[in-house]
Amino acid sequence: MKEFTISTPARYVMNTVLVLMFLFIGNHITQSGILLRSQYALLIQIGFFIILAVSLNLVTGYLGQLPLGHAGFMAVGAYAGALFWRAHLLPPTLSIIVGLIVAGVVAAIFGVLIGVPALRLRGDYLAIITLGFGEIIRVMLTNLDSITYGARGLLNIPRYSSFLIVYACVVITCTVIHMLMKSRHGRAILSIRENEIAAESCGIKTTYYKVLAFAVSAFFAGVAGALFAGNQGLLVPSDFDFMTSINILMIVVLGGLGSMFGSVVAAAVLTFLPFMLQPLADYRMIIYSLMLIIVMIFKPSGLLGSYEFSLSRIIEKVVNKALSLRGGAAKGGR
């Protein structure tokens, strides 16, 4: 019996419809004013944490490296975007889009600059060197008073990060990284994770793909940084310290390495959890860290492992099951 499958164009239509549906619902909720200000801010925050986690997952989960300086790229993007927006060169709508692209591109340039030397090293040394670069970026932002206003903070950043903008960025990030991973370039990246030497001997340009993954990851981290700036309205270098990088890494590992769906869910849960634990203010972080340790001990591969959610797969499964049941019943009846 022929298996029921959904054709690729139909899948795209389905996903587009879903995306638009979520957009419609989300937009309706945010416009209707049911949400408190803090809840709205939380929603935006979940948005840029999703972008950060999904982009870090590209390097950690798919490429198999361990960078600890993601907050550095976020910082570069945040300052680039914020400075661009503050200059008010273009009309607002255009300015938002160009600003986000500027933030991404500047961060990607840093990604390449840092990636080329850092990726010569392996494993833990890569982790340390990216950590070092992240700290250097933070120290520079603190000390370049004339541009960044140092520890006093960069003020009066236009608050451009509305639900619509953040949602659009989340969708674009997930789509681009998903498509990248489904392409031959994505398979090259995965092969480096599985076995670098084998990949190299199959003619895959490992350095090129490593730098590519690093740059794409940095690009989206930069975009997320700009969204962060547009949400806060002010920036201080200490927003981007080592703990921020660690928080993003925590989301990725907890969600499951190499699972985009896991990153999205974990970003939402881990951002939402401290907010929900607010009534327990004093114990909040204690509970949070204990949960982290317990999850790691009992489920070391993360909450969702490498599971990817796919609606079309679920539909296919259900339909096939129904078909085979009916087929079986028909056979039995005869």
Partner: protein, 292 residues
Amino acid sequence: MLLVAQLINGLQLGSIYALIALGYSMVYGIVKLLNFAHGDIIMVGGYIALFSLTFGQHPLLAAALTVAGCTVLAIVIEKLAYTPLRFAPRLSLLITAIGVSILLQNLAQYFFSASGRSFPGHLMIPHGSVSLGGVMVSYTSVITIVTSLVSMAALTMLVKHTKLGKAMRAVSEDQDAARLMGVNVNSVITFTFAVGAALAGIGALLYSVRFPLIFPTVGAMLGLKAFVAAVFGGIGSIPGAMLGGYAIGLLEVLVTAVGLSRWVDGVVFMVLICVLMVRPTGIMGRNMMEKV
């Protein structure tokens, strides 16, 4: 003269870094874990020293309590949080260590409040100085440098010349082979954590005397710097950790002396990156061969 004074200052800071870096290095050598909770063990050690000094008023008693407290804490953490993950992916272990670090910081914040408490350093090491060849050196500097040298010598003896030390080296070389030779791998790993924490306890005492303010996140940056020192010298290597500690300490003091105090952290990491570019496994690290 000023230069000599600064050098001694740097050596003092470097000895503290070296003591802490040893803990990172030994643990990394044996279980390949970047033990992020190490810095926070120092913080806890600082609090233990603070309370035992305030109540007991006796420096040796306080020192003994601090070292013992840190050791017990490290053993408890190792048994509860790290042992269940012995065969898990290394990244999970790293995240667990980070979790422990956040937990310790927040427990300290809950019990001792977030604001800093000043440390009665004069009860530990009296004020005053001695003249060494025309340079006035404070007791604190002398005691810090001597204590760290003695501890490191003791550690070297332990690792090089005892049966347990041989077992430690065997486990770090090849865990499975060591197990086949009858080494109790689990207890050796626990012992390594304990030794690292004992050194961290000594480091905590010396650090608190030098910078007499204790707060729940005091261990975070200190731990990071010591960790940089360990990598600088070649992580997993004991003489490397000492060398790295002294190098980072001297570097920091000299950069501050030149008047670039706001750039200290940046310069430290920049030098680390330059060293790793030239020698990818640190100054005294072993080169890892790639196997196909």
